[in-house]
Each structure stands twice: as C-alpha cells, then as structure tokens.
Symmetry: C3
Subunit: 157 residues, 3 copies
Amino acid sequence: MSDESHVEARLAALGLTVPQVTVPLAAYIPAVRTGNLVYTSGQLPMINGALAATGKVGGAVSAEEAAELAKICALNAIAAVRSVIGDLDKVVRVVKVVGFVASAPDFTGHPSVVNGASNLLKEAFGDAGVHARSAVGVAALPLDSPVEVEMIVEVAD
Amino acid sequence: MSDESHVEARLAALGLTVPQVTVPLAAYIPAVRTGNLVYTSGQLPMINGALAATGKVGGAVSAEEAAELAKICALNAIAAVRSVIGDLDKVVRVVKVVGFVASAPDFTGHPSVVNGASNLLKEAFGDAGVHARSAVGVAALPLDSPVEVEMIVEVAD
Amino acid sequence: MSDESHVEARLAALGLTVPQVTVPLAAYIPAVRTGNLVYTSGQLPMINGALAATGKVGGAVSAEEAAELAKICALNAIAAVRSVIGDLDKVVRVVKVVGFVASAPDFTGHPSVVNGASNLLKEAFGDAGVHARSAVGVAALPLDSPVEVEMIVEVAD
C-alpha cells in the first residue's frame, strides 16, 4: 500500500484496481509521452486480456451496460498512462477524452455511455479529472467491442 | 463593443455572434487549456440549447444543410475556447479540426460538409484560422445530431 | 540523394517514395506545427491525386488490401509532416496515430488494417516510429475511401 498513489487509493475505495497493461501485438504501445502530455492508445473494455462484452450499443448491449464498459476503458486508459509515468499522482489534468461507441443505427444516447468514463476519471483524479470530451457513434470497433476510449493527460515535469 | 475581440467583430460583420457556452451535465467541460493549447469538447449544432437539426447527412439532411450546421458547430467551438481564455484575440492558430458527419451509408461528401466549419474559422481568425483537418463519416452522433466538430487551438502566453 | 533524409533513405530501401502533398481545396492544409508538435490532416490513400481504392473494408475491400491502403495513408501523412518541417530527420517521435476504417457492419479486424500504417511508421522512423494508436470503424469516409489516417509527431526545435 505504501507505494500506491493517491489516485489508486481513491479507486481502491471504489473497489477498483488499475490493471497491468497488455502490450499490443503491433508497432504501437499503450501510451506515449511528449513534453508534459501523455497520449493513450484507444482502450477497449478488456479485463485480464478478454473483452468484457461484444456487440453494438442500442442492440445487443444496453446503454447502461455500455456505460459500465466505458468505465473499464477509462480504467485501462489510466493503466496506460501509468505505464509511461509510473506515479499517477504526477497527473496534473485530464485534458481530453474521446469516446467511440459502436452504435446501432438508431442509437443516440452516446453521452450517457461515455459518462461512464468521465465519471470514473472525476472519481480518480478529482477536479483534475474534469476534461474536454467528444462522444461519437461509430459503425464498429476492434474485436466487436461496444466502446473504445482514448485520452490525453497533462503530467508534471 | 469596446470589449469585443477583433475575432468577434469579424464574425459580427458576417451577422454571427459567438454564443454563451452551455455547461455540460456530466463530468466534462466545454474546453481545457494545457500549456499553450486549448482542446474543445465535440460541439453539436446547438442554438440556444436546442439542436438546429437532426438526422443523417445524405438522408434527411442534405450536404448543403449539413455544411451550415458545421458552421454552427464551429461557432460553438469558438465559444468553448472563449470560455477558457476570455479574449479570442489570444488565439495564435487553429491547429486541428475534426469533423464527424453522421452519414447515410452511401454518403461520401464529408469534405464539403466540414468546409462549413473550416471556412468559418478562416473568416473568424484569418490566416491563423487555417488548420489541419480530418473529416470522417460516423454511424450516429449524440442526440441524432448530423454533425459534431472538435478543435485544438494554440493561444498566446 | 545527398539532400535526402535518413527517413527517406530507409523508405527508398523498401521501394517507397514520400510523395509531394496535394494542397487541399478548402480552408485547411496538410499539417500544422504548434510548438514541437505537428498535427496532420486525415490522409486518404491517394496516389498521384487519385484514390488507390474505394469501398468498405470487409465488403468490396479485403482486410489485406486495406492494410496496404493504410500504408499509403501513412506515407502521405509523412509527406504532410515534411511539408511543414522540411527535413524528416527532425522527427523525434511519432506520438499518436488514429486510423479510421470504413467498415462493413460485421467487420471487426480494424487493428490488422491499421497495422499497415503502424508498421510503415516503424520502418521509416525506427523506435521513434512506435506510437500510441486508436483504430476505429466508421460508417463512411470522404470520396468512399476505405481508410483514413491522421497522426501527431514531435519534432526537434
């Protein structure tokens, strides 16, 4: 516990653990730092290397389920950030979040889905977790994932 | 008038007013500044809190109508930037614009739609409004919006 | 040959040439530099001003063909970067890549498609070409392009 960041302690109080990152198989990595910014790769709702669900939101997956999946994506995005900065308490600000929602054609409730990610980030980082955001509905996502979340955070020197 | 930026004066000459931002209901905000960059949230064609139109481009919404909606999105993105920097004349450069177009399956005229945003930014900021851009067609957007526009601008110290 | 960057020499060894950029027709440009970052516009698989293919991936276009198209997009993104920095050896790091794949509804192999871009960037820039990445499936792309790739690179002072 003594090595744990305040961020991780706050998540632990919610019963959440920042996972280890899975190294992608291709020529890309979970996150890259440039200057004081860290850009994450798009994160899927993976738990222990397997997707927590598949299918389109508004079809096989409900908006409520999708919000929970977006929360898992955000947790994986936090893990991606940790993989390059080590100590999550170095995060000064979550700058931008983009949430991609694999949508049934008539689904328009994307904001409530991506709120699953936004709210988790607020819980993890407090006021520093409040970000700019885009939520969009896409045709399909890798491995038939219902949700994908990427983010940019500012970190201390 | 005396408090108005040159940017707003140029827009006023076109009959356009930078609106007040609507504060989002979830844990995100219209824009965030990090260093000299401001990232906006994805902006919908909202006028006084209501979508100016709904539906898919190439379906219920024509490309010409959608270009006009993209212009409203860009105006809202300018408002989002103003909400964090106050004076729009601090904008040094519009760096990047992404335009998401909710598309009927056979619609491929996304560039002309997003030109509605690009041209407005050029009119508002002059040469500093010329940006890098991505235009993509998506399955669906929040609240059945036909268009969503996000941008990154560089601002003076 | 003497004016050629090491990056271009590595690509030449693969039989690839960085093309000249086509200037877009609207109020945007192929890439913009802000500080030490260069943001490219979304790049289509254009060869000499014409799309190398059209159609949806998983439909008229196979995943293998699409990966080859993503490689062309990446080459055009390199050209876009060169248009603003001149010497490609100034690239310190490829920070982020987003690959948009125009997808048939049941197509979920987006990662292998975008690998076409990721692998090319690794070949061009070596370890500096390894980036964060998002791969998403979209409804449709400009001009019925099967793939679109944008990137952010960090450049030396």
